[in-house]
C-alpha cells in the first residue's frame, strides 16, 4: 500500500503524526522505526544514536536521535519502556533508514506495561492508512528513497 509514493504497512502501529512505526515482536518486545514519510522529510541520514540498553524511557523522552544533512531530531517515544538494543545494522549504516525504512528498525524496547497497553495508543490498519494518506496529501509529501 502507498500514498503519494509513500509506502504503508497496515499491520504496523503508528503515532498520530506518522513519524514512527511500532512492530509487535514474538517475545513481547516492540521494535520502533521511521516511516517512509519521516525518512523522506529527513533526507539522507548520516548518524543514529540509540539510548543505552537498560535505560528507562518515559513517554516524551526519545529513544534515539537522528541526524541528516538538513534535519536533526528525535525518534519520539509515546509509552513507558526500557531500551533493549539498537539495531546494529542501522547504527553501522544509517542510510538503511532511507532505503528500507520498514525493515530497518532503530530500537527494540520492552514496554513497561506490556505490548497491548503500549500499542493501544497507536493507529493501525485502515484508520492508520487514512491518516497517513491525509498527511502525505495535506503536506504534499512525495516519498523518495534517493539518498545521494
Amino acid at each position: 500500500m502507498e500514498c503519494n509514493g509513500c509506502e504503508f504497512h497496515p499491520e504496523l502501529y503508528y503515532d498520530d503524526e506518522f513519524q514512527i512505526w511500532v512492530r509487535r515482536e514474538g517475545d513481547g518486545s516492540l521494535t520502533v522505526g521511521m516511516t517512509d514519510i519521516s525518512q523522506t522529510i529527513a533526507g539522507k541520514i548520516i548518524h543514529v544514536r540509540v539510548r543505552r540498553p537498560g535505560t528507562r524511557r518515559p513517554p516524551g523522552k526519545p529513544v534515539a536521535t537522528i541526524e541528516s544533512g538538513k534535519w536533526a531530531g528525535p525518534i519520539p517515544n509515546f509509552f513507558d519502556c526500557v531500551i533493549e538494543e539498537g539495531n546494529p545494522d542501522v547504527l553501522e549504516s544509517p542510510t538503511l533508514l532511507n532505503s528500507d525504512p520498514y525493515n530497518a528498525w532503530v530500537a527494540r524496547v520492552s514496554p513497561s506495561a506490556g505490548p497491548d497497553e503500549a500499542l493501544a495508543k497507536f493507529l493501525t490498519g485502515d484508520a492508520a492508512h487514512e491518516g497517513y494518506c491525509e498527511r502525505a496529501v495535506r503536506e504534499d509529501i512525495h516519498c523518495s528513497r534517493n539518498i545521494k
Partner: protein
C-alpha cells in the same frame, strides 16, 4: 554484528543556553543554531535559545520564511520549527526589539515562547550547564 558501546547515547540531562545574534544579513549562519538546538533537545537537554541583536529579526514574521543558509537549502523557518518540535524554548530579547522596529506583541512568529528581558538571559546563563553563542 557487535555494537561499539560508544555508539549508544548515555548523556546526563543538562541545560544549555544558546545566544543567537546571527540574522538575515548572514543567512549562512542562521541554520546551525536551530539544527544543534534540535539535536540537544532530542538528547534530553533543556534548551533555551535567546535571540538578541540582529538575531531578533529571525523571530520577526516573514523574515525566516524564504531565508536559506545555502542555495537550494531548507528554509530557516523549517529549522526553527524543527527546534520547537524537539522542545527548544525560544526567547526574544525585549530591549533589542525597538532598534529593529519590531512590535513584541504583533510582529513575532508564533513559535516564540517569551519576550524576555536581559535579566532573564542573565539568570539563564548563571544557572545553566553550558552556554553557546552564535
Amino acid at each position: 554484528m557487535a555494537i561499539d558501546p560508544d555508539q549508544y547515547l548515555d548523556n546526563e540531562d543538562a541545560s544549555v543556553v544558546m545566544i543567537v545574534t546571527a540574522g538575515p544579513s548572514t543567512p549562512h549562519r542562521c541554520a546551525t543554531p536551530f539544527y544543534l538546538a534540535s539535536l540537544l533537545a532530542s538528547m534530553d537537554a533543556e534548551v533555551n535559545m535567546f535571540f538578541t541583536m540582529e538575531g531578533v529579526r529571525l523571530m520577526q514574521k516573514g523574515v525566516a520564511d524564504d531565508l536559506v543558509a545555502m542555495e537550494g537549502g531548507k528554509k530557516i523557518i523549517d529549522f526553527i520549527r524543527d527546534a520547537k518540535r524537539a522542545g527548544a524554548v525560544l526567547h526574544v530579547c525585549q530591549p533589542a526589539l525597538p532598534g529593529y522596529r519590531i512590535d513584541g506583541q504583533a510582529d513575532l512568529i508564533p513559535e516564540v515562547d517569551h519576550v524576555s528581558r536581559a535579566s532573564t538571559l542573565a539568570d539563564l546563563i548563571m544557572t545553566c550547564d553550558k552556554v553557546l553563542s552564535f
